[in-house]
Symmetry: C2
Subunit: 226 residues, 2 copies
Amino acid sequence: MRFNQAFVSEASGTRDRILDAAERLFAEQGFYVTTLRAITQAADANLAAVNYHFGSKQALVIAVFQRRLDELSADRLARLDQAHARHDPPVLEDVLDAFVYPAMALMGEREAGGHRFMQLLMRAYADHDEALHGAISQEYGHVMRRFAQAVEQAVRGETGATQAPKSDEIRQYLDFLVGALTYTMADANLKNPRATASSLVTFAAAGIRSLPPTTLNIQPTQETAS
Amino acid sequence: MRFNQAFVSEASGTRDRILDAAERLFAEQGFYVTTLRAITQAADANLAAVNYHFGSKQALVIAVFQRRLDELSADRLARLDQAHARHDPPVLEDVLDAFVYPAMALMGEREAGGHRFMQLLMRAYADHDEALHGAISQEYGHVMRRFAQAVEQAVRGETGATQAPKSDEIRQYLDFLVGALTYTMADANLKNPRATASSLVTFAAAGIRSLPPTTLNIQPTQETAS
DNA sequence: GTCTATACAATGATAGAC
DNA sequence: GTCTATCATTGTATAGAC
């Protein structure tokens, strides 16, 4: 429904200019304090252009967001494919690294605006904004499903057994990983992202391996001392 | 500097009414969308009363926040003391449970507003608000230090060795726990908080136990399959 | 000291001309 | 598609009543 858009080469440059300016300003100042007037001024566009192209400020936020999120998801899935190619049942650490590394890579890339995106991700989850939350979980759902599948294969491959933890539990443990990752990477004072990401993979791998196989009633003794 | 405040029994009821109304509305709608006019109207107070008693909307947010946070911290520390009383070097799971349980308990308590507080916590970390972030980390810092200490004792007690993982690494792994906890509990669709909290303790305990002791150069082989 | 009424600048959004 | 003009609403500040 937007054929003209693809036809004209530099047609609606304003839309992209607004998108770029918004991303930069959101990263520098955050959603709330960044005004549409500041965005349009930086983009050399008119105030009303935002509402024309995106409908609302919230819609602009989602648009800016989704662009990065697509990038992140693509990077993760590519690395997951690599992990699969390396070993038939993938190594658990490789799978987790495929999930964690791309997020960490965002930290160093852009001009000091990497961790801002993680903050935006946190805010997206914290917000009651159903539209934003829905847009993210739709994209995220697909990725998470593939990673949960890969983790299940990895765990089953390790034990050599046909039994593996239930999918629901694996999904939950992946949620733990997402939480730890998002929270940690959102820290503005994070010193060594690379080392932190590595630690997180070790941490999560140990946690996932602690999952008991399905329908296995034998449990390790809880009492440890004295 | 506020002696009259303590003297008069029901003196400034408006301040508390505003605090209560703000908490409820923030929980229901979030920081951003909740206007001061809506708060003062719900509190049956005048608009200007907010700025008189708190100075600004941001200061009100912090005040609302700190009230719950103090409650949460006190609960956690009390349970940590219980864990210490149970075993001399505390059991790792007990320590982690002392940290996780109070947060989970918030979910069921208040009239469907429990998980909202966790969302507010996430939002606080996601926000670029330095004042809010500072107010939280100041309170949290003390608590986290005590828990890191307890975890170190627990791990050292398990191995029986005098060596334990470095404090910095333990602190980092606790950050992972905080992230996973906050993220998970902020989910509005969380079905079984109790079971989730239990899983999280198991998950984190395994992760922490995977930490290598200090100055130990021997590392486990990364290659797993074939 | 506590509270109220009122005013102010800035914001997101919209309508209509071009 | 773009722009100007305009709107209602927001957080905040002030003057003054009790």
